[in-house]
């Protein structure tokens, strides 16, 4: 065991740091700094730069477009991205459907879909949850019926993140209504421009439009767009959920979040002292930081296991639970730190002037982000479900 980076790794760290500094889009930085909502093009501008460099999918096998980096290099990469406060790349193609396609797909599917995921030309969304199938995902009712060389799909999906931008979606659909819940589900890739696909926005508590309802009415999907065997889609779904959960720990990003809180607490006044000198607040920061270190080393141990050939297993539920709770605590502390200025709702600010500002810039999103981040313990398998998984799969009870 060792904790130090090797000279090669330090050189790599310097290389990626320089690359980010020289190539991160300047206008994207100002959009972020001014606290605007990010457009599709904002997300894609950084994605395309990474794609061009060949660094868009470090976790993928080299043969499909991965970088061939070691687990440590990938760790360094995600640390540097977070330290530089880069926007994340959308996970739906790169972390979710991409690995499913290169693991379970046909050569034709790989050739057709992987390049668009890497380049950013295809924006993907995830059609899993339904109004009646949340935690109990296997109870999903969207059905696909064979009609010649097509499936005809009918049903409703919900919480479909960024579907308003999507070119393609991967959907879990029921192909055998008589089979036991998990058996009878298939994994379909659906062109979001197909006739019969309707996307309706759902506005969340911070006023943002991230998620959608997706209605499918007699949508015709070619059979060659089914990944893996018919009625065996649950295998893909489980594989994907485990992948989704490792990224969900979000350690590097949370580290950046803790640093931001420290910066805010040094700026904010608490009567006659800076907030950072308030012993209660200081203790909350240190508790958070120590919990984050525990999460970080748990993730590193898990990554080391993965490097040794063990795939992400049920213990990734631990990373999801602790990672999501820490993300929430960061937003709680940020809101607490800004005091009175958590209340003004930035989406309602009219034209202003510098002479009469509405609180500090860092306060504008504190409350909306806190509200929005309640989602982390709900999505990707709620934390209650994750605890069930650990009880059953890890503890065997």
């Amino acid at each position: 065991m060792q904790l130090e980076f090797s000279p090669e790794e330090i050189a790599f760290q310097q290389e990626v740091r320089t690359f980010i500094a020289e190539n991160y889009p300047k206008n994207l930085r100002s959009v972020q700094d001014e606290g605007h909502d990010l457009s599709k093009e904002d997300f894609l501008s950084w994605h395309r730069i990474l794609a061009k460099k060949g660094w868009i999918a470090p976790a993928w096998p080299v043969e499909y477009g991965g970088t061939g980096w070691t687990a440590t290099q990938r760790f360094i990469w995600s640390e540097e991205l977070a330290a530089a406060d880069c926007v994340g790349t959308m996970p739906f193609g790169l972390s979710m459907v991409g690995p499913v396609i290169y693991t379970f797909g046909t050569p034709e599917q790989k050739a057709r879909f992987l390049p668009g995921i890497l380049s950013g030309d295809d924006w993907w969304c995830q059609g899993y949850s339904e109004p009646g199938a949340g935690s109990d995902l296997a109870s999903l009712r969207t059905k696909a019926v064979r009609d010649g060389d097509h499936y005809v799909v009918n049903g409703q999906k919900t919480w479909t993140t960024m579907a308003q931008h999507a070119d393609w979606g991967f959907f879990l659909v029921r192909t055998d209504p008589d089979a036991k819940a998990q058996e009878g589900i298939s994994f379909l890739l659906i062109d979001m421009k197909s006739p019969g696909v309707t996307v309706r926005p759902i506005i969340t508590l911070g006023g943002e439009h991230e998620v959608n309802e997706v209605w499918l009415e007699d949508v015709r999907v070619p059979i060659e767009n089914r990944v893996y065997e018919e009625n065996k889609g649950w295998t893909c779904a489980k594989f994907l959920l485990a992948h989704e959960r490792t990224g969900i720990a979000a350690v590097a990003r949370s580290k950046r979040g803790v640093e931001k809180i420290k910066a805010i607490a040094r700026t904010e006044q608490d009567g006659d002292r800076p907030l950072i000198a308030n012993p209660f607040f200081k203790r909350k920061i240190s508790e958070l930081e120590i919990d984050l270190t525990a999460l970080e080393f748990t993730e590193l141990r898990s990554l080391a296991g993965e490097a040794a050939g063990k795939g992400p297993g049920p213990e990734s539920s631990l990373l999801k639970i602790k990672g999501s709770e820490i993300q929430q605590r960061i937003t709680e502390l940020a809101l607490e730190a800004v005091g009175h200025y958590g209340a003004p709702y930035f989406r309602g600010f009219g034209e202003g002037d510098n002479e009469h500002p509405i609180g500090p810039d860092y306060a504008h999103r504190a409350a909306p982000t806190y509200f929005n981040t309640r989602k982390t313990t709900i999505y990707g398998g709620s934390n209650e479900i994750q605890r069930n998984i650990i009880a059953k799969m890890v503890l065997g009870i």
Binding site: V211, L335, R374
Partner: protein, 402 residues
């Protein structure tokens, strides 16, 4: 179940072997019951979720007709004022039960600012200004916003940089007050300012009630995340008359602390309404939401969470009753009671709000259901007039001497 709803308490003290025997009566008077029932019925008719959304989305961000009706049709704005001023002769308990009912519909009415804070200050100082303004409050013609917070001061009421300089018979105001709830609607501003001293010194703090349209007041208005309207208020050489001063020049801090304590308990009462609805809404949802072939209310992990929510709501009611009944005790006892109450209620508001959303799942995070809006108000209540940390610290200062 009406189990431990706030009831009126009569406290009798005896001298004798037992220092203090407390005989409690938690029942309400008939008038108090009537106030609650009348208000509850009125709000049920006027303040459903859709109507509230419409008010917030309208030009002024409110429906002024509601305020008029509360004043003129229901006589509600007079509940906590003396009969001499045209009120019903009530006080803190009436404010608490009205705030609790307003909390149950997450009303965006400026009752806290106008009646509890403005009215509270006027009742405390009395005299000509009280005789002039209180009847106007009761009649619904006056809306008061409380301009006290400053960016650097956080929850420290004495940390004030806004100045009021003596100028002939009057004063000249300069400074900046932040996040002044209800300011865009206000006819009057209740302003804290330094007439002397500096930093967080107690001496030199004064309280003024001024015309909200005085020359030199610059406002930036905005909505708040919990559905109200608020402003940044800048005073740029605002000339105010001498009789705008409430209480004594430079000796206003005890008065300010008193009305803020009263308002803090009123907000806790509101929280009782808000969290009760968060709890009942969650229970209702869990009973009708099916997953894994059964209502999710059957899952023990969710049952225990809902029981914990219930216990937090009940303890919030208990603490609010306790603090309401101690508002007229000497300052140190009052402050300790209020801080104990707010610390407990702040934590409860956070736990109940977060648990409500978690139990609802995704649907709880949308704007489409009322539950998320209750959560937003609960979140703002957590820090209003001081976070839990702030109140633990004040409680310790008062009760845990070195």
């Amino acid at each position: 179940m009406r189990n431990v709803d706030i009831k009126m308490l009569k406290q009798v003290q005896h001298d004798g072997p037992l220092d203090r025997i407390i005989i409690m009566d938690f029942s309400y008077t008939e008038t108090q019951d009537m106030i609650r029932e009348t208000l509850s019925r009125f709000l049920a008719d006027t303040y459903d979720f859709d109507s509230r959304n419409k008010m917030i989305a309208s030009g002024s961000g409110r429906d002024p007709g509601i305020w008029k009706a509360l004043a003129q049709d229901l006589g509600m704005l007079g509940a906590s004022f003396s009969e001499d001023h045209g009120g019903l002769g009530g006080g803190h308990l009436e404010n608490a039960l009205i705030m609790e009912e307003l909390g149950k519909v997450i009303a965006i009415e400026p009752y806290l600012q106008t009646v509890v804070l403005g009215g509270g200050a006027l009742k405390a100082v009395g005299g000509a200004i009280a005789d002039a303004v209180i009847p106007e409050i009761i009649g619904g013609n006056v809306i008061i916003a409380f301009a006290y917070a400053e960016p650097q001061g956080r929850y420290n009421l004495a940390n004030i940089r806004t100045t009021a300089k003596k100028d002939g018979a009057g004063y000249v105001l300069n400074g900046h007050k932040g996040v002044v709830y209800a300011a865009p609607w206000a006819t009057h501003l209740l302003v804290t300012a330094r007439t002397g001293g500096s930093g967080s010194e107690a001496n030199g703090v004064s309280l003024f009630l001024i015309d909200a349209n005085s020359a030199g007041i610059v406002r930036r208005d905005y909505p708040t995340v919990d559905g109200f309207q608020a402003s940044e208020v800048y005073f740029e050489n605002v000339a105010i008359p001498g009789d705008a001063l409430l209480g004594d020049d430079g000796a206003g801090l005890p008065l300010i602390e008193r009305i803020v304590d009263e308002a803090t308990v009123a907000v806790c009462a509101e929280a009782c309404g808000v969290t009760a609805k968060l709890h009942s809404g969650t229970l209702e949802y869990a009973r009708q939401r099916n997953q894994f072939g059964q209502p999710i209310s059957r899952f023990q992990v969710l049952q225990h969470r809902m029981v914990d929510m219930f216990m937090e709501v009940e303890q919030s009611k208990s603490m609010t009753t306790m603090a309401t009944l101690k508002l007229d005790l000497p300052a140190a006892e009052r402050m300790a009671a209020v801080s104990a109450c707010k610390a407990k209620v702040s934590r409860a508001a956070k736990f109940v709000g977060q648990s409500a959303i978690q139990t609802h799942g995704g649907i709880g995070i949308t704007q489409e259901l009322a539950i998320g809006h209750f959560f937003k108000r609960a979140t703002m209540i957590e820090s209003q007039f001081g976070s839990a940390d702030h109140h633990y610290e004040r409680f310790e200062r008062l009760t845990l001497a070195d």
